[in-house]
């Protein structure tokens, strides 16, 4: 039996004094886990050594998150054991995991946004008095030490929802350090970090490992994984493909392991017509504004052209997209679609005119998660219907859905599977498919590949290329400037304005970055 400390008598461990952190490895051995017949983890074994960083890589749905949930006690494995210092332990629930010194920073962070930093740190810290009351004085003493250790300049009284994403993440990390932690699992920490913030995190990880903490690190950013990890384990379809020493591998090898086949980058500008002048204009925006987010935006998108919109988060790209589909109304300026005036007052009117938006957040804005794949694929067609009493044939709808599933290679058990059971990439393909079904003339895609694995990403590029060659114009908003290489042209937005236009022939990721940040030398180029 493993010792489960009582909240009151938890040893007052010297937080921040790393020498005294317990040492030993975390090992999982032969873990398998199935959900309703599909195997999420299949006989997985790996070891996280103290003081080292062990990265987990793999496509969405490959099993990384399931493994973390099993270790955290959120899910229970069907078979296999978890060992701490060579002793098998049964992690009953997250609280028990914390008692064992296992800390978790999930993507959702699980903070209470309206609480102060201190009150968030207090949650689950186990530092309570005899009657269960919080000992706030001792808590704040500990909190200061932890935040110092993380070199995080965050006020304990600040309300969490007023903090930046990176600071919130630090608070979540700090919370797991409020108790003696020997292992910390981090799920996609840097997904929304700036480069500076990512650097800060890497320093923090160095500090933690130097005091003997073992880190389990999940990330899609392969360069980052390669630079900070000691070992890298690759998952594919619930199976452990390989565990590599980070020093002995590179990005290309890693990608091959993740995808299981060589990735082929589809670059539209190499595929065909780069949108010559003889093509008709699909959409023309003239002085489009909605202050303060979008200011005097004027641009053309030609028939069958793929146009990228680069820029930093907050540059007004999403807001511009919302104007194009009538989700918001412009305060000034006008638009023309295929030469005629176009002023959508709702997404309904936009879709009827053939303009659709694949939104940024597929789970909260794109899908009915509990609905089936075929229901989700039918949604935009219902939205485009003029007569609401039009009869609906489930059989016909299913046939159309199955054709789309086939065309976009959406991996799903059947068209009636609930869409939340699909991996991120396949969910994204379902959202795209939903809009493609309405036959749009202009498809606006906001961050189409965020949280999408390498394989599905290539397929989404392929779909974009196909749509364009069929005459659909595509507007791609992306913060991943590398992927904007699929575009014929890239517009750069900064602080609400379109400040540059870069043709494919002059495409250069670093140049786009410089333009987005507004580096003075970039604008002359």
């Amino acid at each position: 039996m493993n010792h489960r400390p009582e909240p009151g008598d938890a040893p007052h461990l010297p937080i921040g004094a790393g020498e005294e952190v317990l040492r030993g490895s975390l090992r999982v051995e032969g873990i398998s886990k199935s959900f309703g017949g599909s195997r999420a983890l299949d006989d997985v074994s790996l070891t996280v050594r103290p003081g080292s960083v062990h990265a987990l890589c793999g496509a969405n749905g490959a099993g990384k998150s399931t493994l973390i949930k099993v270790i955290a006690g959120l899910e229970h494995a069907d078979t296999g054991v978890i060992e701490l210092d060579g002793e098998p332990v049964r992690v009953a629930n997250p609280r028990h995991a914390a008692d064992l010194g296992l800390g978790f920073i999930h993507q959702e962070l699980n903070l209470v946004p309206t609480f102060s930093v201190l009150r968030n740190l207090a949650m689950g810290s186990g530092r309570t008095g005899r009657w269960g009351q919080l000992d706030l004085r001792r808590l704040s003493r500990d909190a200061v030490v932890v935040l110092e250790r993380l070199q995080a300049d965050i006020s304990l009284s600040a309300q969490v929802d007023k903090l930046s994403v990176a600071d919130r993440w630090m608070v979540s990390l700090a919370r797991s350090l409020m108790r003696p932690a020997r292992f910390i699992a981090m799920d996609e920490p840097t997904a929304s970090f700036t480069d500076d913030e990512a650097h800060r995190l890497i320093k923090v990880i160095d500090e933690l490992t130097s005091t003997g903490v073992g880190i389990l690190y999940v990330s899609h950013r392969l360069d980052e994984v390669l630079s900070i990890s000691d070992e890298i384990t690759v998952f594919r379809n619930g199976r452990l493909v390989t565990t590599l020493a980070a020093r002995e591998t590179d990005r290309a090898a890693l990608t091959t392991h993740i995808v299981g086949r060589e990735v082929e980058r589809v670059v539209a500008s190499e595929q065909g017509d780069p949108g010559g002048t003889e093509r008709a204009v699909r959409l023309r925006a003239l002085g489009l504004s909605r202050s303060p987010h979008v200011l005097n935006a004027s641009f053309d998108v030609k028939v069958g052209e793929i146009v990228g919109i680069a820029g930093l988060v907050g540059a007004g790209r999403t807001e511009l997209a919302r104007l194009l589909v009538g989700a918001d109304r412009a305060t000034a300026g006008r638009m023309e679609l295929d030469g005629a005036g176009y002023a959508p007052r709702s997404p309904h009117q936009a879709i009827r005119s053939g303009v659709a938006l694949v939104p940024e957040e597929r789970r909260s804005q794109g899908l009915v998660l509990t609905g089936s794949v075929e229901d989700n694929l039918a949604m935009a067609e219902h939205g485009a219907a003029r007569r609401t009493l039009r009869p609906f044939s489930p059989r016909r709808s299913r046939r159309t859905a199955e054709a789309l599933i086939e065309r976009f290679a959406i991996k799903t058990r059947s068209s009636r599977t609930a869409v939340h059971l699909l991996s991120g990439g396949n969910q994204q393909k379902a959202v795209v498919g939903k809009y493609v079904r309405t036959g749009p003339g202009l498809l606006v895609m906001d961050e189409p590949t965020v949280g999408v694995d390498v394989g599905a990403r290539a397929e989404i590029y392929r779909i974009i290329g196909e749509l364009a060659s069929d005459g659909t114009s595509v507007l791609v908003i992306s913060s991943d400037f590398e992927e904007l290489a699929i575009c014929h042209r890239v517009l750069v937005m900064r602080a609400g304005r379109i400040i540059a236009e870069v043709p494919a022939s002059q495409f250069d990721k670093d140049h786009l970055t410089a333009l987005s940040f507004g580096a003075p030398d970039a604008e002359e180029a």
Binding site: R39, A350, G366, L367, M379, T388, R390, I405, I410
Partner: protein, 333 residues
């Protein structure tokens, strides 16, 4: 590279997990409860319960509750609430009788007026919820209270009774092929509402709005319109129930329809555990109403005290929804 992965997943071949009892019970548990109830009642009262007459009787007793509960289902499907349906039903009864007594309306004219009244209440609810962005809970509580006030104004607080109610009473007591008219009305309403919800774009849009309003909006669905229609359908059904209720006695009292509020919610929630994973749907609501009626009927026939109806209805709701919910949780684990 050939991406030939399509409908068939490339997950290893463990697609046949054997029979999943929890999954099965999650879907059919509520129906099992109904079957169990019928069996027990048949055993306890073999002379009176399992007869054709009693079956028709049960359906007849279900009719009014079913109509209002199926209307409520529309609002629940779009992810809203309506706490005013009981009041709307009460007002519809009083208004129908008052129109016939004071304004000399015929039965058909009174029925149509009551349906229009119901639609109007629903549209007002819908506008308050969509355009004023008030939560449906608060909005319908408010309009429901206003409806009570209007009811007092019309009736002066006293029951409204028809002088010569015979034709009006026929609506409740008339029979065709031995089956009372209200049963036909229930079946007709059920068929129309089922078709609306499952076989029209409107119904699909309602389900999408209930599932994710933002995604529905960005898919081009006119979310506000859909929500307003749902409220209108709901209150129209409440009006119809109020009208039919008045035809039982040829008179209407102030609060006659009020009890339907709780029974409708109970039936719809019980029904959400029937055949579907916690989603509201017409057939489920119908099963919910009939299950309650079967129970009440059995309690009366066996000769248990009336108060046991409350015990029964409360426990049924918790067991029906709770067991389904628990079974789904286990099936997912």
């Amino acid at each position: 590279m050939s991406a030939t992965t399509t409908v068939t997943s490339d997950v290893p071949d463990n697609d046949s997990p054997g029979f999943d009892y929890f999954d099965w019970f999650g879907r059919y548990g509520a129906l099992v409860v109904l079957a169990l109830l019928v069996t027990v009642a048949s055993a306890a009262a073999p002379e009176t319960f399992p007869t054709l007459d009693n079956a028709i009787n049960v359906l007849n007793q279900s009719a009014l509750a079913a109509i209002i509960a199926m209307g409520l289902t529309f609002v629940l499907v779009t992810g809203e609430f309506d706490l005013g349906i009981g009041n709307a039903a009460s007002l519809a009864g009083v208004a129908a009788c008052a129109l016939m007594v004071d304004a000399g309306f015929g039965i058909v004219a009174a029925l149509l007026s009551v349906l229009v009244l119901g639609a109007a209440i629903g549209i007002v609810n819908g506008f308050i919820v969509t355009f004023m962005n008030v939560s449906a809970l608060v909005a319908t509580l408010g309009t429901g209270t206003v409806v009570i006030g209007v009811n007092y104004v019309i009736s002066d607080g006293t029951p409204v009774a028809l002088q010569d109610p015979d034709t009006f009473l026929d609506i409740t007591f008339g029979r065709l092929f031995g089956v009372p008219y209200p049963v036909y009305v229930m079946v007709l309403v059920a068929a129309v509402l089922w078709w609306l919800l499952n076989r029209t774009v409107l119904g699909q849009a309602m389900q999408a709005v209930g599932g994710n309003r933002v995604a529905a909006e960005l898919s081009g669905i006119r979310v506000d319109r859909v929500r307003i229609i749902a409220f209108a359908v709901c209150s129209m059904c409440a009006g119809l129930t109020g009208f039919l209720l008045a035809s039982r006695t040829g008179s209407a009292t102030l609060a006659a329809g009020d009890p339907y509020l709780l029974s409708s919610f109970a039936a719809a929630f019980f029904g959400s555990a029937v055949l579907r994973d916690g989603q509201f749907h017409i057939v489920g609501t119908l099963v919910g109403v009939i299950t309650v009626s079967v129970g009440f009927n059995a309690i009366a026939l066996i000769g248990l005290a009336t108060y046991s109806q409350y015990l029964f209805q409360g426990i049924l709701l918790i067991v029906g929804v709770g067991v389904g919910s628990l079974a789904r949780l286990r099936a997912a684990a």
